[in-house]
Amino acid sequence: MAGEIILKVRDIHKSYGSTEVLRGISFDVQKGETKVFIGSSGTGKSTLLRCINQLTVPDRGQVWLHGEEVTHSGKEINRLRQKIGMVFQNFNLFDHLTARKNVEVALIKVRKMNRKEAGDKAMEELVRVGLEDKADLYPAELSGGQAQRVSIARALAMDPDVMLFDEPTSALDPELTGEVLQVMKDLAQNGMTMLVVTHEMGFACSVANEIIFMEKGEILESGSPSELICNPRYDRTKQFLNKLGELYGDIGRQR
């Protein structure tokens, strides 16, 4: 797969106080590709995703989307962020708005669509995640899986070029994980470009083009699922995968 490169990440560094959380991360993302990030807790996976859309400003390094610099983009960042969808571990749905309004609000306020148009578009996205019948419920009335699907619809409504997923299923009960992963699989199959932090190795194996193993703020190794899982180069990677296996069942298990 040698498509067009739509996202370039170069040498991202980030420290909080004296702790270096990211120590020079670089990679390219091709159109339609899914990259999965794994690594133990505290290695900076969330920080990395947030650096990509500048919710966290990196100390050093650059991010380009379609050849346009995202870092140091000043006011332009608000336009660029629309092109970078983000899905959070704990959903972060707007609790005062119904599911449909959650999807609409940025269309109306940011894209300046009129209400009718925005409403239709929101409904379309809710259909895409299979929640058209929950449109008028408030977040507190949704199950975790449904809430996460709404938050995916909310990000999709902005027609993003890339989607960032930060452990989208780790706050969910096991039986709800499947429905969210299914939505993500469909997205990947329909050509969405995605960066996913997850420890669902079943998903990673069947969907990812590349798995990136992060350790202490660096990319230790990366490769296609079969390469990385069957032949990890480093002991550290092997250890981590074994631990995941213990925690989540056999690696490679399909959901």
Binding site: Q82, S151, M158
Partner: protein
């Protein structure tokens, strides 16, 4: 006994006119306190250190002063000093309003902070600017959560409004005192005034609770705040 009742009924229209003044003070101060309090809270949470520090000082100052001292300071001191010739009513609303803003700002601040960072991040990730996120996402939620606490401001301001007697605002207590000075019948008149306050207090609270229930969102802001 009959004399007393006649006296009360004769004085009542005059005193009742004071309820409008009292209500206007309360409403005005609530409004001033709401607008300034909201702005202060946003400044304290999202402002640069200098701004949040200034807000903290403002809050400390206005919460630490007695109403009476504040009223005297404004009425005899600051406003004449600035060459402003304004009515006692205006000063009452300003002083009580600013004081209320100090209290309200802390209520709003707590509610904004209780929302957590996630809401702001989600809004920004969709391309909203910071002011857009504050206006469309943070404030609507913070205001709903703050409603129960906010309705506490009403009885506080209502009872505090009586202090404006000290600068001669023609509210209930001032009018009551005028009647007393003419009739030398303090007990029945004061009791009547007190009763008016109690009814306004109790009735107002009942109405606010009703409003709270109407504005509730399913599953939102569960539990007491």
């Amino acid at each position: 006994m009959n004399d007393t009742i006649t006296l009360i009924f004769k004085a009542l229209p005059f005193i009742l006119q004071g309820t409008f003044v009292t209500l206007k003070i309360v409403a005005g101060a609530l409004l001033v306190g709401f607008i300034c309090g909201l702005a202060l809270a946003v400044g304290q949470v999202y402002g640069r250190p200098f701004l949040s520090g200034s807000v903290a000082f403002y809050v400390w100052f206005f919460r630490g002063l007695p109403n009476l001292v504040l009223l005297f300071l404004f009425y005899y001191g600051l406003f004449p000093l600035m060459g402003l010739d304004v009515s006692a009513f205006f000063i009452a609303v300003t002083a009580l309003g600013l004081r209320s803003s100090a209290y309200q700002s802390q209520l709003f601040r707590g509610c904004i902070q209780s929302l957590g960072e996630g809401q702001m991040m989600a809004a920004r990730s969709l391309g909203m600017t910071r002011p857009q996120a504050v206006w469309n996402i943070i404030l609507p939620q913070a205001l709903r959560i703050s409603l129960p606490g906010w309705s506490n401001e009403y009885p506080i301001l209502l009872t505090d409004s009586a202090v404006t007697y000290a600068i001669g605002v023609m509210e209930i207590l001032t009018r009551g005192n005028l009647v007393v000075s003419r009739t030398y019948q303090p007990m029945p008149i004061y009791m009547t005034c007190a009763l008016i306050f109690i009814i306004m207090n109790y009735g107002g609270m009942k109405m606010l609770h009703l409003l709270e229930r109407r504005l509730q969102i399913p599953g939102f802001g569960r539990g007491e705040h």
